[in-house]
């Protein structure tokens, strides 16, 4: 990126010879993959940070125009790859909104449970990565060890550790069984121990608190002006959580708190994420006890869901249904219109804007990525801080490069 596009700092106020430029390049030790920052520093103080992104831009939105509504879910998984199930929930939430489908209660509950597990996964990695970047290696290992338990559950259900590609239009890939219920119950029993371990390691740790308190303060007005959402906004006092304000899936049935803080610094974001993990466990505990029975996919006569293998191979209606949905010139017939649907992903408001032209493929599948919008905050937050605060702020914003670049 040419240096002349970086604005000059005021030359009469600062000592010219001490300003130097550091390229915090696309490949860097902070575990936040491919983003690049060009920092102008005065000694160790950051004067200006210019982000340069696009190092992971893979053309997701163009692919959305090429794959149909069920195939694209495999790609959508790979956007926010730390909580992939949430992306699938967001995509199919919007597709089902476009098509006007109402899910079965069992499907809603299972999607909620898996989505909250994905949220715990995301927050564990975010907290672990922030701790690793600040030097606390043990917290990283504890967090990753706990994530393996969640991976086990996803593997039981869909066969893949992450990127499950589990949701389909109108339902799920397959139904869950008692093994899953037992595993989720075990998880709910033993996960609080890991979260408590992390809390004991980090919450009152002098080094962690000093490195994150009053660093990267985001005021409430700034958060609203810059379109923040999710834990970043809630830690600044914006009380908006799509699970409460625009309830989707089964969130109406559960009793949970919206976690907010007032200070808006990195420490507040960390605390909001830890508390959100506990609330997620609360939701999962309520959901798994009240899991409704019944079919998981929307009714076969609705002609939108792929029937299961038994029906496909054994009944002529199932075979025809399968054929109609898989062959590329037949597929779904959604209304010719546009729709925006958003869910509360662990990073913020993850929305999809789908323009459909009546065929089985989206005409335009736009993803509203929370990481992209939060990374635009970064130059504002880091001004005046030291260079070692760069990793703290970057970690607390939970920037995921694949969602940033799509």
């Amino acid at each position: 990126m040419p240096l002349e596009l970086v604005d000059r700092v005021d030359e009469d106020q600062l000592d010219q010879e001490y300003n130097w430029t550091l390229n915090f390049g696309p490949q860097h030790p902070a575990t936040h993959t491919t983003l690049r920052l060009i920092l102008t520093l005065n000694g160790e103080t950051v004067l200006k940070a210019v982000p340069d992104i696009g190092y992971l831009h893979s053309g997701f939105e163009k692919l959305g125009e090429d794959l149909d509504y069920n195939q694209y879910v495999t790609i959508v998984d790979r956007m926010n790859y730390i909580s992939p199930f949430h992306n699938e929930v967001a995509w199919h939430h919007t597709v089902e909104k476009l098509m006007g489908l109402e899910l079965t209660p069992r499907c809603k509950y299972i999607r909620t449970i898996l989505a909250e597990l994905a949220r715990i996964n995301d927050h564990l990695l975010c907290v672990g990565a922030v701790a690793l970047d600040l030097g606390a290696f043990t917290s990283f290992l504890y967090a990753f060890n706990q994530r393996e338990a969640v991976y086990d559950i996803f593997e039981t259900v869909s066969g893949q550790r992450f990127h499950p590609s589990f949701t389909r239009v109108g339902g799920l890939m397959n139904d869950v069984d008692d093994v899953f219920v037992q595993k989720v119950r075990n998880f709910v029993k033993q996960a609080p121990k890991a979260i408590n371990d992390l809390t004991r390691l980090l919450n009152r740790n002098r080094i962690f608190v000093d490195r994150t308190k009053d660093i990267g303060v985001l005021t409430k007005e700034e958060a609203i002006n810059r379109s923040c959402s999710g834990p970043v906004a809630r830690a600044s006092g914006v009380t908006r959580d799509l699970r409460k304000d625009e309830p989707y899936l089964a969130y109406r049935d559960f009793d949970f708190k919206m976690v907010c803080a007032k200070e808006g610094d990195c420490y507040a974001r960390y605390l909001v994420r830890m508390e959100e993990m506990r609330e997620s466990l609360n939701i999962i505990a309520q959901a798994i006890e009240n899991l409704p029975s019944g079919p998981v996919n929307v009714d076969l006569n609705g002609k939108v869901t792929i029937p299961d293998k038994a029906a496909t191979y054994r009944s002529i209606e199932g075979l025809i249904q399968h054929f109609e949905l898989i062959m590329t010139n037949r597929q779904w017939k959604p209304p010719v219109n546009e729709c925006y649907g958003a869910v509360e992903s662990p990073n913020g408001e993850l929305g999809f804007y789908i323009v459909s032209d009546g065929t089985g493929r989206a005409y335009r599948a736009r993803c509203r990525p929370p990481s992209f919008i939060h990374f635009a905050l970064f130059p504002h937050l880091i001004e005046g801080h030291q260079i070692s605060d760069v990793v703290a702020v970057l970690g607390s914003l939970n920037i995921i490069a694949a969602e940033l670049d799509r």
Binding site: L3, T34, H57, S58, Y81, I82, Y151
Partner: protein, 192 residues
Amino acid sequence: MAMTADFFISKLDYVANFIRANSLWPMPFATACCGIELMATASSRYDLARFGSEVMRFSPRQCDLMIVAGRVVMKMVPVMQRIWLQMPEPKWCISMGACASSGGVFDTYAVVQGIDRFIPVDVYVPGCPPRPEQLIAAILDLQDKIRKTGTLFGKEFQERTTFDGPAPLHLELNQAEIVTAPGSYESSTRLQ
């Protein structure tokens, strides 16, 4: 008198290979989702440090194994080439995941269809993402390769002078439609 072993006789190549294979320090060029599986492989359940990869140094000057984990976009290729050239000999490259090996699910305008088009790769790991056990198997395969074909002074690297990557894509455009946009690693990674 008891038998004592005072002398150890072997080929220098064997000793060098033994040392190099059992202490491969990886440099994770973690781009996307495979990066998370790489971190999971380095974590406590599937510990990569058991196999000699004790530290993941992020500086290319201190590593000898570059694990390219994740999709490589055309904007990133000059960066990857520059880092590869910064690594000192002997060095090896593992291409982890379907996206690094061949473009994966992303056959789009921005994703390079396999990093072996630009970087010489030694071991490919399929999977999307590959399970940690697959990555460990790849490291063990690489260790085998080093033991079998390594030399003390790295002569086996100098012999690979031709491009041994994949053939050009068969859906090539004709010359008139080709748009030349990005540059090489010399120009695209400078600040000015």
